[in-house]
Structure formats: structure tokens, C-alpha cells
Symmetry: C2
Subunit: 219 residues, 2 copies
């Protein structure tokens, strides 16, 4: 068995806490951890360069089981992306909602982002949204819509952040929350890209610090 028998590491919806007494042969895998492994692979190699054999090996499921559980490669990619987004959102939503000073909120968001982008046993994995946008997968309309959704959601979250800060007088009168939000997203994107290129964390933190300085003092 490749999978560990531990609890799923992220938000798992536990519909039935106890054994539901399913009818047939029990599954030899846990869908949540299998999806996590698939996500890891897709993040490292992208859509085209990840083969079903790779996925099969990483998840410990043979191919027919993969199909039964997640559908074909495209569907598995989409489900991996959804899982990524759920995790990322879960990691950031509290900070976006918190009632802290602008600078502190930004610092915390970028710290989480760096954690996500730099993690990975075989090198930093970057941001799935950026990876997908840059991949051939973006020629698929459904996937492209997910990318746009992801980009817009981030813009909006930052937008609320800056509007809130402006109302509290943390920003000058002339500051434009929408523009600042786009810059904040742009900073997310640039560190995601640089992380993939193995730029060390220290350098990325410096870039983030400079960006925060500009955004917080923006006229």
C-alpha cells in the first residue's frame, strides 16, 4: 500500500462519521488522500506531462480505480484544481476576514502564499492557477473559466481588503482600492512564478516587503 492510513490532511467532508456499511468490496484507498497525491503530481509536472501511470503509481490506485473514482484525466485534473482552491481559500479566508491593520493582513496573506508556493518535496510547486493558465489546459473552456474565477476571486478579496483599509483611514484619499488589489494580485503572481524558478524565499520575501511598502503608502 502506498497510502498512509492516516486521516485526510485537509478539509474532508465527513457525511457519515461511522461506517456506512457499503455493499461491495471495500475501497483500498481514501479518495481524499489519493486526490492530494494527484494534485501534487499535477502541480509539479503540469497536465500534459503527468501520465496516468504516474498518477496510478502516486495514488496507489490502478487505472480502472482511478477512472471509477475520478473519471478521466481531465476530470481528475479539474477535481485536483478544485481541491487546491478549496485548500488555498481555507488557508486565507480567515486572514482576509480578520479585523487587523492593512499591513499586517497583507503580510500574513503573503506568508501563507509563500508557504503554499514553496512547499513540495521535489522543488517549489508554485500556484496551480498560474500553472494552469500557462498550460495547454487553458484551451479547455471549462478550465479557463476556473482560472478566470480564481483570478477574480483573489482580486475581489484584496479589493475588499483595501476598501476596508481606506474607510478606516489607513490609506490616503486618492488611493484606488481596485488598482491596489490588482497590484496585490500581481505580487502573488510574480512570486508564484519566481518560486517555480527556484528563487530563494529570502528574495521573494524582499519583493513582498517592497510591494507592501508601496501599496500601504500609496497616494
Amino acid at each position: 500500500m502506498v497510502q498512509k492510513s492516516k486521516k485526510p490532511p485537509s478539509a474532508a467532508k465527513i457525511a457519515a462519521p461511522v461506517a456506512p456499511k457499503r455493499r461491495g468490496r471495500p475501497r483500498a484507498y481514501e479518495p481524499d488522500v489519493a486526490l492530494g497525491k494527484a494534485l501534487d503530481l499535477f502541480r509539479r509536472d503540469g497536465f500534459a506531462a503527468t501520465s496516468l501511470d504516474d498518477l496510478s503509481a502516486a495514488t496507489g490506485m490502478n487505472r480502472p480505480s482511478l477512472y471509477g473514482a475520478f473519471g478521466d484525466k481531465r476530470e481528475l485534473y479539474i477535481k485536483s484544481y478544485q481541491r487546491y482552491r478549496d485548500d488555498a481559500r481555507a488557508a486565507m479566508v480567515d486572514i482576509f476576514r480578520a479585523d487587523a491593520p492593512l499591513r499586517e493582513r497583507l503580510e500574513r496573506i503573503y506568508r501563507i502564499a509563500l508557504d503554499i508556493y514553496l512547499s513540495g518535496e521535489s522543488g517549489p510547486r508554485g500556484c496551480f492557477t498560474v500553472m494552469t493558465a500557462a498550460s495547454e489546459a487553458v484551451s479547455d473552456p471549462d478550465i479557463r473559466n476556473m482560472v478566470v474565477e480564481g483570478l477574480t476571486e483573489l482580486d475581489k478579496a484584496f479589493g475588499i481588503c483595501f476598501r476596508h483599509a481606506k474607510e478606516r483611514g489607513e490609506l490616503p484619499e486618492g488611493a484606488d482600492p481596485a488598482s491596489l488589489a490588482h497590484l496585490a494580485s500581481a505580487t502573488i503572481h510574480t512570486i508564484a512564478i519566481r518560486a517555480r524558478a527556484r528563487v530563494p524565499r529570502r528574495d521573494l520575501e524582499a519583493i513582498v516587503k517592497g510591494a507592501i511598502d508601496v501599496m500601504c503608502r500609496a497616494k
Copy 2:
């Protein structure tokens, strides 16, 4: 013949203006236009999803000729990337060197960038550097070095720009040229990503305008 018999559309090094009288059977292709076609394909589909058959069809060269001219797929990818960078640099270098006000220089740079990222018959092609960073090709050390080089070169060009503007008094005393340069690069990256996701040019221009406003008024 697939290739048009026109002159190479971009910087072609013309070592011998007249026929050099090569010995054997003459080539049926022009290396420059063939490389351009290969670049187009790689930009659209990425490294893994572009097959040698695709490249062969697009360039009008059969596979053995491709090998003879450019080496294997990886080498062809690298040469395509070099070509891309040469073209992009050529399109921007004059603006970066020009002696114009900061705002005007930025506006012109981003206009060129949008032209590059949004062009393409079958959808916007984005930025090769960003595409490559997000692809599995980045696990190749040589390719990764090229990516880092590309990122750094852009940072430096913007850096010179902002330092120059500060010396001329176009920026406040407290402005940090390095941070602004990173923000300018980040804006390049964010529009490259969004362009791939087919965000319309109008929206990208709005993002650029907002970013320029912030960067030019930066304290």
C-alpha cells in the same frame, strides 16, 4: 511548401548577404521562419503537449531535418525561447533606453507587452518566460537558468527606468526604485497570465493604467 518564401520576419543574422554556394543539396526551408513556427507552437501548447509531429507539420520540415537543423526537442525548445527573448528584447530596448518621461515609457512598454501576449491566431499566447516557469521544463537546470535570467533582465531594465526617473525628480524622495521595478515586472506577469485566460485587452489595459498610476505617484 508550407513556408512562405518571404524574408525572415525578425532579426536574422545575415552573415553572407549573397549566396554562399554551399556544397550539397540546398535546404528547402529557411531556418529563421521554421524556428518562428516552432516558437508559435511551443507558446500555444507548452513543451510537453507539443509533439515532434506537430512541429514537423508546422515548420514544413520532416523530423530528420528538424534534428539536423535544431537538435532534439529540448534543444529546439531552448532555441525557440532564445528567439522569443531576442524578439521581445528588440521590441522593448529602444523604449527602455529612450529619454522620455517615466509614465510615457511605462505606457509604451506595456503596450508592446500586450501586443506580444495577445497576439496569436488561435488565442492569446502569453509570455514564454512565464509559460516556461510554470511548465515542467523548469525542472531542467539550463532552462530554469534562462527563466531566472529573463526575470532578472526585466527587473533590471525597469530598475534603471525608475532610478533614472528618480534622479530627474519624477518620483518622490522616498521612492524605492528596486521595489517599483519588481512591481512593474509583477504587472507584466499578471497581464501575461490573464491574457492566457483570455481576459479582454480592455481589462488588461485598465489594470496597467491603475498600476502605472500607483507606480508614478509612489512615495
